[in-house]
């Protein structure tokens, strides 16, 4: 085996080894990145839920008078942005309450769900 061939072989071996190493590293980091991304998404949802809850408390629970249509629109948009069917369904139950007692039950259920979402 000539000198050049030997050097070439060693270089190729080293390059293959480093390729394997970096490929492994890449996949590990990608996995880690996906996990972080999932956490970030969860946090984002959490923030949306928190914002909706704040809006709900400030504009509905602490309302001095009838809630105006602009606020209602904001609430409706905010609740749908959560992309949570359970919360949306509970929100609709609350909105459609026919009696004071029903409203009291539904508001508690809604708050409970929101708190769970924020946790």
């Amino acid at each position: 085996m000539s000198k050049q061939t030997k050097i070439l072989s060693i270089v190729i071996i080293v390059l293959i080894a480093s390729n394997i190493f970096f490929a492994a590293k890449y996949f590990l980091l990608r996995e880690e990145f996906n996990q972080v991304k999932a956490i970030a998404n969860a946090k984002n949802t959490n923030e949306k839920a928190l914002n909706f809850t704040k809006l709900f408390v400030a504009e509905v629970l602490k309302a001095d008078g009838e809630v105006d249509f602009e606020t209602r629109l904001k609430l409706e948009n905010a609740v749908r942005e959560l992309n949570n069917d359970e919360i949306l369904s509970q929100w609709q139950k609350f909105i459609e309450s026919e009696t004071e007692e029903d409203a009291q039950v539904e508001v508690k259920n809604l708050l409970e769900m929101l708190i769970k979402e924020i946790e």
């Binding site: 060693i10 080894a17 509905v60 309302a63 001095d64 009838e66 629109l73 409706e76 948009n77 004071e100």
Partner: protein, 834 residues
């Protein structure tokens, strides 16, 4: 009181800057005659550094005291130098002239043409014949009051009144504070505010409208943050603080902004030292946004989505109203928006829409008519191609619904086009997707939002808010007067007040520190077993409460840590070490027939085995308490509530000497977890019946000694764990005398590596020795009575460095050696060949 913040240095015509006296205004020259230094237009001025203005000679004209290339200088002490210039007299040298402490000029100025100019008749002792003098109200620095001498006499970096806070007036003779002087801190700039969640950097700040980006109102709310020694502040819309005044510091204030929307603030100490200038800005926009529909069909089919395009202000909200419902849409960064109103039944509709910009300005309402026709046959639709607006809208927004199969290719095209976009901006892109249907709400306000109902049941809230403290807690406070005092001081008399105790840990005294006992009695409690105490002391021991000790009746006495929940439930963290013997004592209220108990498992504790490199001071776990009473004062009537399946131990209390104290010995369970000690007192009096006392106990595992091998813990056998106590008299550490407490010191670990100590209050350190491992010694730590030491201790192998060599390192080294060997061989061969 308001004070001007932008203060110009005042001109005081008598000291620092002077003029010529009307009665003494002439100098004399043999060649040119009288020279008048106080003419109507001469404006001669004398300062600490120079003379300026013009003198007048009737024969030779004006003499400029500050000509462009020279000028008459003053050294501040009244010694003049430099040259004045006259068109007809040439240069006049003032280096021989001085101003004395009374403001009189003396000496001569010299000029080739004018010759000697005398400023005072006393120069030639000729005042008797011709009384002329030149005088000013300027005074040399040395002759002026300390607070007006243009000198920083107290070296505080500040000069004279009003800059130096030590000066009360220009006549003040002391720049330092009269009397004892100002504290050194008086010369400090305002302190920065401490870091907080809103201000993590801990910097001076002014925040407009809670950091809103826009406002449509010139009146804004400022939030100001400054350090504790800030007394005043100045706010301005100008960076130069024009017309600004110092006002007392306040954290919030209303302010009128100008069109720039920038607000500047400075903060001052009470001594007048100022901070750097800080600012905040907000965009003032009070122009209502306009909206224009740019895409609408002449009519829509009832089977299709009604889509419109509009243009308004960037990022504005657009509120729509049609068919008894409201909808909301958002414009993009260019102000464009596409509104999908969804499918609508055939008919004529009137659409109203208006936009609200980011500053909250509402635009005028725009009206549009929508015509919805019934679905026509496909043929009819294809014939109706001349309806251009329809075409435009359809082409732009009516792409066919993407099937799942096509979805991947669509995404791929989008990714590729995005990748090539910087290089080929016109790279084909996928079609824009159909806009989402607008979320709508009915015009009629739902009942729940009409503010007619209480959304929370008022009665229940009132009951909760005004409910008194739980009975058990009241009884606990009654038995521990100090606890009652705490409740009184903190203002706890309703159940809702309990939130004040959230996150706080109450400490109740151990039996030997109980305040109802006298000092003598407490000494007895410490030294004599409970059973041998005099009857009068025994009778003072609180009834229906459990006292527990480790080892024997004379063992260590511990304080109790309690947390009280919002519901008034007492939560105790009573930690015992598995396998530890403990003695429980209870004094029934009246004569009891029998007292017995159960040890019931409630839940397994999720013990996280973690190691702390350093043992933190005062952070040792609570090992056990001498008085433990999770709910002892809540002794309740027993109604066969004990669930047999969870009972791990049954035990009996005994009152061998009939002294009213019932004592039981139990062993803490080996398995760590949460347990409940249930004590039942069966009274002779049938009215009292059987009373139950519950007690929650957390059983901790013992500490252990281990070594980390590849992220796994390996317990170390035969490690010698010793604890050393600081002898306060000799100030030296000594091996702790564990025999007095029925314990061993040092302890030798078994295969589990476990050890534990229960020590009285004092300062200690731990030492661990094991063959083939480095010696371990903890930092000294101080602990209170009743704390157990059971930390997990990590030892390092003496040959730890060898463990970093694994197969990867060996492979790399081998590869390296092979490469070097190969080069060496080649070199050797080429050497031989040559």
């Amino acid at each position: 009181m308001t004070v001007m913040i932008i203060v110009a240095i005042p001109v005081f015509a008598s000291s620092t800057s002077g003029i010529i006296d009307n009665n003494h205004k002439y100098a004399w020259s043999e060649n040119v005659g009288w020279i008048n230094f106080k003419t109507d237009n001469g404006n001669i001025s004398i300062t600490d550094s120079e003379l300026s203005g013009y003198a007048w000679s009737s024969g030779y004209g004006w003499i400029n005291l500050s000509p462009p290339t020279s000028g008459v200088n003053n050294d501040g002490s009244g010694n003049l130098s430099g040259y004045a210039w006259g068109e007809n007299v040439g240069w006049i040298d003032f280096s021989g002239v001085a101003i004395n402490s009374d403001g009189y000029f003396s000496g001569y100025a010299n000029s080739v043409i004018a010759g000697q100019i005398s400023f005072n008749c006393s120069n030639t002792d000729s005042c008797a014949n011709s009384d002329f003098k030149l005088r000013t109200d300027w005074r040399p620095r040395e002759e002026r009051p300390i607070c007006n001498n243009a000198t920083d006499d107290d070296n505080d970096g500040l000069t004279d009144y009003p800059a130096d806070p030590g000066c009360s007036s220009l006549d003040d003779e002391d720049e330092t504070d009269p009397g004892s002087g100002l504290p050194p801190s008086a010369y400090n700039s305002p302190l920065s505010p401490p870091p907080s969640s809103n201000n993590p950097g801990g910097v001076f700040s002014v925040v407009i409208n809670n950091n809103d980006e826009y406002t449509n109102n010139k009146t804004v709310l400022l939030k100001l943050t400054a350090g504790e020694n800030t007394a005043r502040m100045a706010i301005s819309n100008s960076i130069k603080f024009v017309n600004a005044s110092q006002i007392p510091f306040q954290e919030n204030m209303e302010w009128e902004i100008n069109n720039s929307g920038i607000v500047y603030a400075r903060f001052y100490t009470k001594y007048g030292y100022k901070s750097q200038t800080v600012s905040d800005s907000i965009i003032l926009d009070n122009i209502a946004p306009k909206i224009k529909i740019t895409g609408i069909k002449d009519y829509y089919d009832s089977a299709e989505d009604v889509i419109l395009i509009a243009k308004t202000e960037a990022n504005a909200e657009v509120v729509l109203y049609w068919d008894e419902k409201y909808g909301l849409a958002y414009a993009d960064g260019q102000g464009e928006l596409i509104m999908n109103l969804g499918k609508m039944p055939a008919g004529d509709y009137r659409l109203e829409l208006f936009s609200i910009d980011l500053a909250g300005n509402k635009g005028d309402v725009l009206f549009a008519n929508l015509i919805i026709k019934k679905v026509k046959k496909t043929k009819e639709i294809s014939e109706n191609q001349e309806n251009k607006p329809i075409e435009q809208v359809q082409q732009k927004f009516y792409e066919p619904i993407i099937s799942p199969k096509n979805k991947f290719s669509e995404e791929l095209i989008e990714k590729i086009s995005k990748f090539f976009e910087p290089v080929f901006p016109k790279f084909p892109k996928s079609k824009p997707k159909k806009p989402k249907e607008i979320i709508t709400i009915p015009k009629k306000t739902p009942l729940v939002m009409r503010n007619q109902w209480n959304l929370f049941p008022q009665e229940q809230i009132n009951e909760f808010v005004l409910a008194p403290l739980p009975k058990g807690l009241k009884r606990l406070a009654k038995k521990f007067p100090k606890l009652q005092e705490t409740f009184d001081k903190v203002g706890i008399d309703k159940i809702t007040d309990l939130k004040k105790l959230r996150n706080s840990e109450l400490s109740l005294p151990g039996l030997s520190k109980y305040s109802l006992f006298s000092k003598k009695e407490l000494a007895l409690l410490k030294n004599i077993p409970l059973s041998k105490l005099p009857s009068e002391i025994k009778n003072k021991i609180p009834s229906e409460m459990i006292f527990a000790r480790i080892g024997d009746e004379k063992s260590i006495d511990f304080d109790i840590k309690l947390n009280i929940s919002d519901q008034g439930k007492i939560q105790q963290r009573i930690n015992a070490i598995s396998g530890q013997k403990l003695i429980l004592t209870v004094r029934p209220e009246r004569k009891a027939k029998s007292v017995y108990g159960y040890l019931a498992f409630t839940e397994r504790k999720n013990q996280k085995f973690s190691f702390q490199n350093e043992i933190p001071k005062n952070k040792f776990c609570n090992l056990f308490n001498s008085i433990i009473f999770a709910k002892p004062v809540f002794a309740e009537n027993y109604a066969n509530e004990v669930e047999e399946e969870f009972i791990s131990q049954k035990f009996s209390y005994a009152d061998k000497d009939n002294d009213g104290l019932w004592i039981a010995e139990i062993v803490a369970p080996i398995v760590e977890g949460e347990y409940e000690v249930i004590t039942l007192i069966e009274y002779e009096d049938p009215d009292l019946g059987t009373r139950m006392i519950r007690l929650t106990t957390i059983v901790d595992p013992e500490g252990y000694v281990y070594e980390m091998i590849k992220d796994q813990e390996l317990r170390i056998r035969n490690a010698t764990v010793s604890i050393y106590q600081l002898n306060s008299e000799s100030d030296e550490y000594e091996l702790w005398q564990a025999d007095n407490y029925r314990q061993k010191n040092p302890q030798t670990t078994d295969a589990t590596g476990r050890y534990s100590f229960l020590v009285p209050e004092g300062t200690y350190y731990l030492a661990v020795e094991a063959a083939d491992y480095s010696f371990y010694q903890s930092e000294p730590f101080t602990i209170q009575e009743g704390f157990g030491i059971h930390q997990n201790i990590k030892l390092k192998s003496k040959n730890a460095w060898l463990k970093i060599i694994d197969w990867k390192v060996i492979a790399i080294l081998l590869l390296f050696v092979l490469v070097v060997w190969n080069f060496w061989r080649d070199k050797k061969r080429s050497f031989h060949n040559s």
